[in-house]
Symmetry: C5
Subunit: 329 residues, 5 copies
C-alpha cells in the first residue's frame, strides 16, 4: 500500500513534469565543442590550473608550449647513459642545463630532487617522477613501482608529478591499482598528473612492439581515459606494421600518425619524447611534426645532454625555435 | 549453577512461549510474491531509489526502461574502434549523441567524465564506469582493475556506477575482493551499482565460450547473488552448445534463452548489450526479444556510433520505438 | 645490583609463596568435563548466545536441533541447479519453503538477502553466507572470496554468518587470513560463526578426495581449532580408502565415521549437509546417523527443493520427524 | 657562509670535545658480559618480565625451567594423531593432564582456548599459538597463516604467544612480514613471544632436511636475530650430514650439537621439542642433553599423551625429575 | 566569457610580467656546484644532520669518515660464519670489539640490538638493520623482508637505519614498495637511511654477476635516485667483463671503477664493504682505493672478527690508519 501513492502520483502528474524537464533540456542549445587543449578550455581544479599555468606560461618558452628535461635515466638505464658525456653523470650538469637552456621544467625522482634542488629552487620548475625501475630484469610483465608520492611533490615545491604506466603489461591490475592511488592523491592536492604512457610487455611485443602507431595510439587514449592531465608518448612508427592489429596495418605517414595520436589523447595535453639519441635533423623534424599535430610540447633528455654543454645548448636553441612557432593562448 | 535457572525456565515455560511465537508467525499469511522488477517493488535505500528513478523516469524514454550509451571502448579496445567513424574519436561526438538521441544515460570512465562533463552536465545522466582495462594482454586470467571509486561518482554527480565482473575468471578471488569494496561503498553512498557481468577466462573458454547461454545465464545469477542493483549482459547464444555443461546442451530458442537469463537475474534490473556491430535488423530483433523477456533496457554503443551522426540518430530512433512499447510502472 | 633484591627475595620467600599457590591450585578439585555441546555448556559471549538461542530454541524444531535451508547454489553451481524444478529459480520459492517447512534458518548471500528479505523478515532467521565463488574455474587452489562482511549480517538482522573454508587448499594462507578477519569481526559483534568446512584442492584430491572420512574428519577439527562456533560438513565416506593416509585405511562403518567426526568437532556444533540430490531413503538414513552421532542439525537444500513444492514439504516433514527425536536441552 | 661557523668551531674546539667524549667512553670499563639467560639478566619490558616470571617461577617446576604441553596437532596433523589414544581426542584430556602433570603451560590455538579455558582458567597458564596450518598441502613453500592475534592472547589471559616461523621457506618474505606484525604487537602489549623455529621448504630439503644440525642451528639464530624472547627447536641430528653445507659436514655428537644450538640462540630462551613419539629412554636422554646444554625447558606433546592418562603422568614425572636438576635463578 | 578577461590580461600584460621574472631568474648567477659530499654541503633535515654528525664526527675516527661493524651474518648466512672464531658466536664479542676498536657504529638487527644494547648503550652508535633474510632459498627473485621499522630504531636510540635493496631483482616492485615505506618513515623521523645496495637475482646473474663494475655502478646510482642518504656497496670487479652490458666491457682498473662508483652515488655518502674474508693486504688495498676515490668509509665485518680478538684489533688498527688519512670537513 505504501508504494501506491507514488504510483498514483506518477500516472497522474509525472508525465507532465518529465515533459517539462525534457523541453527545458532541449531548449538550451548545445554550444559548439571547445577545440584544442588550451589551458582555459580544460576542466581543471584551481590547484592544477595554477601549477599548469606556471609550466605553460610562467617558465621556459612561456607561450603555452613545454620543453621538459628528463633525468631519470640513471635509474631507468643505469650510469651507462652518461658514458657518452661523463660530465652529465653529475646531476648538476642537467640542472644547470635546464636553467641555461630555458627549459619549462626538469623531471626527476625524489632522490635527485632532494639532493640538488637547493641551488636551483625556483629557477626551474620541478616535475617529480613518482615511480621508476631498473632495466635489469626484462619487461615481460613490467610495472614501475612507486618511489615517492604526491605529498613528496608538494613538499618539494613541484608543479606536476609524473607516473609511468606500462600500457598493455600483463601486470596491468597492479599497475592500475597503484595509478589509482596516485591519481586520487593528485586530485586531492591539486597536482597536475603527467602519465608516461609506455606500451610494454609480452603482449605488446607480440602485437608489433612498443613504438608502433598502434601501441602509441592506444597508450595516448589509455592515459586520457584514466584521467591524466598530460601524457608523454614516444613518437609513433607507422612503418612498423608487422603483427599490429587492424586497422593499423594500412600505410600512414609519420605526420598522419602523430596527428591521430594527438586526437586520441583528446583533451589531455601531450608531450612527445625524444627517446634514444638519433640524428639531430631527424629529431628536429619529429619535433616539428609533433607540434604541427597539436602536441603541447617536447621532452628531450639524452638527445640533448649526451654531448658537451655548448653543443647541448645549441640543440636546445633549435628546439626552442620550433616551440616559439606554436604558441597556444 | 548459574546456568540452572535458564534451564529451569526453559523446561517450565519456554515451550509455551515458543509455541506462541510460532502461532503468530504462521497466522500472518504470506503475501503473494512481487512479480517483475518495477522500481517500486524493489528493496532499495532512498539514495539508490532516487538515483534509479532519475535514470528510469527522469531521463531518456522515461517510461521505466533504459537506453544507455557506453563509451569505454577507447580503453577496452583502443582507438581502433573509432576508425569506422573518425568523428567518433572525439568524445564530444558521443556526448552530443547521448543528448540528441535522448539516451537515459552515458556510461564512461573518470577521465572522459572529468574532461567532457562541463558542457553536458545535467543534460544527460552519468553512469561512471569504475574499472576497465586494455585488451592488449589476453583474457586468460582477466580482472578489470579499478580506475576510480564511488566517491568519484558522487563528486561528478553520477546516478550510478558500473563495475565489470569477469564471471568465472581464475582470478575471481581478487575480482570479488575488489567488487566487495565497491559494493560496500555504493551501499554507504546510496549509489546504484550496475555490474557488467562478463564471462571470461580459460575456464569459460573451455566450457563453451563467453557468450553461450550457459555462460550468460550464470553471469546474470552471479551478479544478482553478489548484490548488484542492475546487471548488464550480452545476448545469449543458445546455439553455441559445444562444451557447455548440462543442461545447456539441449536446444533453446533465442527467446527462451533471454527469458531464462532475465529470470536468473530475478530482482536485478537487466540491461542487454549490443556488443560488436552487426546487421541493424538482427540487432533490433535482439532488442525486441530482450524487452519481451522482461529486460529493463538496452546498452548500445558501437552499433550506434560506428556510423555518421545522422545514421546514428536514425538507429537510436528505432531503439526508442521498441522501448516505448515496454513501459514499466 | 638492581636485580639483587628480587633475587634475595626469591631465594628467601618465593619458594613458600609458590608452594602456597600450588597447594591452592590443587586443592580445588577439577569438575568433571562438560559433555555434549548443549548451548548452556558452551563458552560464548552474550551476543553469540542470544543469536544461537534464537536458532536452536526460537525457530524451526526449537528443541536444540537445527534444520537449515541453504540457497547459495545459484552462485556456487549456477542456474543449472534449478532446471530440475524451474519454480525454484525464483528465490521466493525457497524463502516460502523455509517458512512453510518450519526451517530453523535460511542461509544465503547478501544479494538474495537484500532483495528478498522484505516479505520474510522475522518469519525465518537469516544465516548470511559471507563468501562464495562460481564453480567455473577448477578447485585446484580453491579459495572462496568474501562478498559481504559481518556488519552486513548485523545490518540485515541475521542470526549467524557462514564462511566457507577450503580445508587443505594450497591457498590456505590467504584463506586463513580472510577467515581471521571474519572471526575477529564476528567476535566483536557477537555474531555466531558457522564454518562450511570443505576439503578441497590438489592435495586433497591426491589423498583420497574431498568426502573421505579422513578429509571430513580433518575438516571438522580444523574448524574447531580455528574458533568456529558451528561447523558444516558433508557426510563422510569411510569406504573411500584409496590414497587416504593412515589410520583411515582401516574399515569403518558410516556410523563410526560420523561419530568420530562429531567428536573431532568437540564443542563446535555440527551440521551435516545433504549435498547433491540422492535417494530419499539414503538421505534420511544419513540424517538419522548424524543426529545419533550427536550432530546438532541438518542443512539440506537440493535434496529438498529440486522437486515440486508439495514434494519438498513432504521430504522436510520426514527430516523434522528425525530432529524431534534428538532434543538437546 | 652559514656553514662556516660550524666549520671554524670544529677545527678550533671540536677536536678537544670529541677527545673528551672518547676519554669518558673508554674510562668507564666494560662489565664482564652476563652469562646464561636467567630472567634477571635479560633485557625485557615489565610486561614481558611479569608474564615470563609466571611461566618460569609461578607455575610448573617453578625453578626457572619450563615444561610445556602443546596441543596444536589437531590442526597441524589432523585427528589422526589421536588414534593411538582416543581419549586424547577430547581436548579436556590434555587440559586435565596439564594441571595434574604440573606443566608450566599449555600451548594451543584460539579455538580450543576459547572452548576449554573456562574450567581451567588460572590453573595452568596459556601460551596462545597464533598461527598454524593443516599438513594437507606439501611444505615446499610453507608458511603458517595467523588464526589469532596478540590481542586475542591478552583477552584470553595468556602469558605468552607462539608463532611458527618456517625458517628457510621460499615464502620467507610473507612469513617475515606476518611475523613483524606479531612481534610489534607483542612488544606493544608486553607479551612474551615464543618462536616455533622450524626449518622447512624445498631449499631446506635440498640442504640436508629439516632436522639436521645445520638447519636447527640456523633456525635458533634466526629466531634470536628476529627478536624472539624464546625459541622452540627440534633436537638437532648431527649425524644427518648428507647435503648439509660446510662446516656442518664434520662429525659432532648430539651433545655438541645441542650445546651449539643453545649458544646460537644466545640470550633467547630455548625450548626443545619432543616431536614425534619415540622410545621413552631416548626421549629422556634428549631431554637431559638439552638441559645440560643450557636449554630453558621442554615442550612435549605426543610423547606424553599418545598413551593412557596414567602412563602419561608417569612419563611427565620423569621429565619433571630432569627439570628439577637444572634450576635457574 | 568567463575565460576572456584572463585571456585579455595575458595578451596585454602577461608578456611583460613573464619577461621580468625571466630577467630576474637569469640575473642571479648560479653558484659553482658544491663538490664532494661533506656533511655541510648536503641537503638534509635537522634530524638526519644531527644523527649523521654523531656518526661522522662524534664517534669512531671522528674526522668525517666512518668505520662500521656489521653483525647481520647470523641471519644472512647462519651460524656457519662464526665457526672460524667460535668466540664470535656470542654477539657480545662484536659489541666489545666495536667499542675497543673505536668503530663509528655497529650495524645489526632488532633482535640483537634489544638483547645486547644494555651494556653498550652510548658507547657505540647503533645502525639498526631493518630487513634481512636467510640464505637458505636461492636469490633468483631475492627480496629482503622487513623485520623492524624506523620507529624501532628511534626507540632503541639508533643513529641510522639500514635497508637492503636487491638492485635488479625480478621482485623489484615489492622491494621498492617496501623501501618506499621505510624512506618515508625515515624522512618523517629524521633518521638517516643507509641502503645496502646489492645487485641480485637471475637477471644480474645473466648480465655478469653481482660484483661486476656494471652491477655495482648501477646499484650506487639506484640508491642515490631512490633517496638514500648513504649507500653501501661491494668493491667493484671491473675484470669481470663476461656478459656485462656495454660500455662496461672495456678495460678499467680497480681504482677507475671505484672512482666511477663514487661519482655515480653523487651526493650520497658511500661505504665500501669488506665482504667475504680475503687476504689482509688485498683488503687494505681496497680500503685505500675506496677512500682515495672519495668514499666516506668502510664497513668491515667478517674480515675483522673471523679471527681472535687481538688479531681483530690489529686489523682494525690498520683500517683506522687509512681512515685518518682522509678527513672530511
Amino acid at each position: 500500500m505504501t508504494e501506491r501513492p507514488v504510483d498514483d502520483y506518477k500516472t497522474s502528474r509525472k508525465g507532465k513534469r518529465v515533459k517539462a524537464i525534457e523541453t527545458k533540456r532541449k531548449s538550451q542549445p548545445l554550444r559548439a565543442p571547445e577545440t584544442g587543449s588550451a589551458l582555459q578550455n580544460l576542466s581543471l581544479s584551481h590547484g592544477k590550473r595554477v601549477r599548469l599555468w606556471r609550466l605553460l606560461y610562467g617558465s621556459g618558452p612561456a607561450n603555452g608550449t613545454l620543453l621538459v628535461l628528463p633525468l631519470d635515466q640513471g635509474l631507468e638505464h643505469g650510469p651507462a647513459d652518461f658514458f657518452p658525456n661523463p660530465e652529465a653523470l653529475d646531476p648538476d650538469f642537467q640542472f644547470r642545463l635546464a636553467v641555461e637552456g630555458n627549459y619549462s621544467a626538469i623531471a626527476l625522482g625524489v632522490g635527485l630532487a632532494e639532493k640538488y634542488m637547493r641551488e636551483y629552487a625556483g629557477r626551474v620548475p620541478l616535475i617529480l617522477k613518482l615511480n621508476g625501475k631498473t632495466n635489469i630484469p626484462d619487461d615481460e610483465e613490467a610495472v614501475s613501482p612507486l618511489a615517492a608520492d604526491v605529498e613528496d611533490a608538494v613538499r618539494l615545491g613541484a608543479d606536476a608529478v609524473g607516473y609511468t604506466l606500462y600500457v598493455g603489461t600483463p601486470a596491468q591490475p597492479s599497475d592500475f591499482a597503484q595509478y589509482l592511488r596516485v591519481r586520487d592523491e593528485a586530485r586531492r592536492l591539486g597536482m597536475p598528473l603527467i602519465v608516461w604512457a609506455y606500451p610494454r610487455g609480452t603482449a605488446i611485443d607480440a602485437k608489433g612492439g612498443k613504438d608502433s602507431f598502434y601501441a602509441v595510439d592506444y597508450a595516448a587514449r589509455t592515459a586520457s581515459e584514466l584521467g591524466a592531465d598530460m601524457v608523454k608518448v614516444n613518437f609513433p612508427h607507422p612503418e612498423k606494421r608487422t603483427d599490429v592489429p587492424e586497422p593499423y596495418r594500412a600505410e600512414f605517414s609519420a605526420q598522419q600518425a602523430i596527428d591521430a595520436v594527438v586526437r586520441s589523447a583528446n583533451r589531455t595535453l601531450l608531450l612527445v619524447s625524444g627517446g634514444e639519441r638519433a640524428g639531430d635533423e631527424a629529431m628536429l623534424e619529429k619535433a616539428r611534426e609533433s607540434m604541427e599535430a597539436g602536441a603541447t610540447g617536447l621532452i628531450f633528455g639524452r638527445n640533448v645532454w649526451q654531448r658537451s654543454r655548448d653543443e647541448s645548448l645549441r640543440f636546445v636553441a633549435a628546439l626552442q625555435d620550433i616551440l616559439t612557432k606554436y604558441p597556444s593562448a
